[in-house]
C-alpha cells in the first residue's frame, strides 16, 4: 500500500509522517504541494507544521495549493485522508471536515503528551482502536481550539463524527473537548494531536512501562493499511 504525504511550504512533520507510514508497514510517497499528481497513492496524509507561516489563517493558503484540487477530489471519492494539526486546519479550510480551529483560549502555544479518549472507531484511520480506549500522543499547537456552530456541533456529536476527545486537560479550549473529527463518510479524519510522533519505542511519550515507549499513534496507520487489505 502507498500512502502519500504532502509537503507544503512550512510543513514540519512530513518526514515524521513518512516514517510512521513506513513503520506501520506501508510505502510512504512524498508528494509536493505544487504538483497536480497524487502518484497513484492509496491514501493521503496532510502533515503538521506552519504552512505559509500561518498567514491569513492556519492552513488557509495551503488549502488553495495546486495539489489540493486532487486531494479534495480524491477525498470526495472515498480515498482515506488524515489531516494532522496543520493538516487538520487545511481539511477544515477546504471544507472536507466541519468546524474550524482558532487560537488557543489561553493564548499560548502548548506542547505536551496528551491523553485522548477514542470516541468512535468507525473511520478509515481508527479501526485498530477500541471505543473508550485511552491513548497518549503528543500535542503541539497554538491554534487548536475546535469550534463549530451549535447545529454543526450537535450533528457531529449525533452522527458519531467526534473521533477523539481530550482527557484530563482541555489544552486549547476546544468545544466539547473535541480533539479530532471525521467527515460523514468516514474516510477523512482530522485531529490536532500528532500520532506520527508516537510510533516507535524510544521516541514516543512516556508510559507506565518505560520512558518514551508510547506507540499509540501507530494504530492510525495500521488501521488504514488493514482497510486497504480488506478492500483489495
Amino acid at each position: 500500500m502507498k500512502i502519500g504525504v504532502v509537503t507544503f511550504p512550512g510543513s514540519l512533520d512530513d518526514r515524521d509522517a513518512q516514517r510512521a507510514v513506513r513503520l506501520a508497514g506501508a510505502e510512504p510517497v512524498a508528494l509536493w504541494h505544487g504538483s497536480h499528481s497524487l502518484e497513484g497513492v492509496d491514501a493521503l496524509v496532510l502533515p503538521g507544521g506552519f504552512s505559509y507561516g500561518d498567514y491569513l489563517r492556519c492552513g488557509a493558503i495551503a488549502s488553495l495549493s495546486p495539489i489540493m484540487t486532487e486531494v479534495i477530489d480524491a477525498a470526495n471519492k472515498g480515498m482515506p485522508v488524515l489531516g494532522i494539526c496543520n493538516g487538520f486546519q487545511m481539511l477544515a479550510e477546504a471544507h472536507l471536515v466541519d468546524g474550524g480551529l482558532i487560537r488557543n483560549d489561553h493564548g499560548n502555544f502548548v506542547c505536551r503528551d496528551q491523553k485522548l479518549r477514542v470516541e468512535n472507531t468507525d473511520s478509515a484511520w481508527t479501526s485498530d482502536f477500541a471505543v473508550g480506549q485511552e491513548i497518549t500522543i503528543p500535542l503541539k499547537n497554538g491554534e487548536g481550539g475546535f469550534i463549530a456552530d451549535a447545529e454543526t456541533l450537535a450533528r457531529l456529536e449525533g452522527e458519531g463524527q467526534v473521533m477523539f476527545r481530550y482527557v484530563d486537560v482541555n489544552p486549547n479550549g476546544s468545544l466539547n473537548d473535541i480533539a479530532g473529527v471525521r467527515n460523514a463518510r468516514g474516510n477523512v479524519v482530522g485531529l490536532m494531536p500528532h500520532p506520527e510522533h508516537a510510533v516507535e519505542a524510544g521516541f514516543g511519550p512516556d508510559t507506565d512501562v518505560a520512558m518514551r515507549s508510547g506507540v499509540d499513534g501507530l494504530a492510525f496507520f495500521t488501521s488504514v493499511i488493514k482497510q486497504a487489505l480488506v478492500n483489495a
Partner: protein, 88 residues
C-alpha cells in the same frame, strides 16, 4: 489607483484570545476605561482598472470565500476608495 478595503472580524460570539490579551495588558498599565478589545483584519486590495460591478462581485466572493472563513469570521465591511483627484 482604486483601493478596496475588506474588513474581517472574528465572530462576535467567539472568544478572541488576541483581543483579550491586549485588553489585559491595557488594564495592567492603568487604562481603566477600556472594557474590551477585539482584533480583526484589514485587507487593502488595489486593482488596475476602474471598479466595475464585475470587480465588486469578484471582491465580494474573494472576501467571503478566501479572505474570511465563515465558520470563525465575518466580513464586516467592504469599502471602495478612489484617491482624491481620481474618478472612476
Amino acid at each position: 489607483m482604486p483601493t478596496i478595503v475588506v474588513e474581517v472580524m472574528p465572530k462576535a460570539e467567539l472568544l478572541d484570545p488576541q483581543g483579550k490579551a491586549v485588553a489585559g495588558a491595557l488594564a495592567r498599565i492603568g487604562k481603566d476605561g477600556i472594557s474590551s478589545v477585539r482584533i480583526g483584519k484589514r485587507f487593502e486590495i488595489t486593482v488596475d482598472g476602474p471598479i466595475t460591478d464585475a470587480v465588486r462581485a469578484e471582491v465580494e466572493q474573494i472576501a467571503a470565500e478566501i479572505l474570511s472563513n465563515s465558520v470563525i469570521e465575518d466580513v464586516v465591511g467592504i469599502h471602495y476608495e478612489t484617491p482624491a483627484g481620481e474618478t472612476h
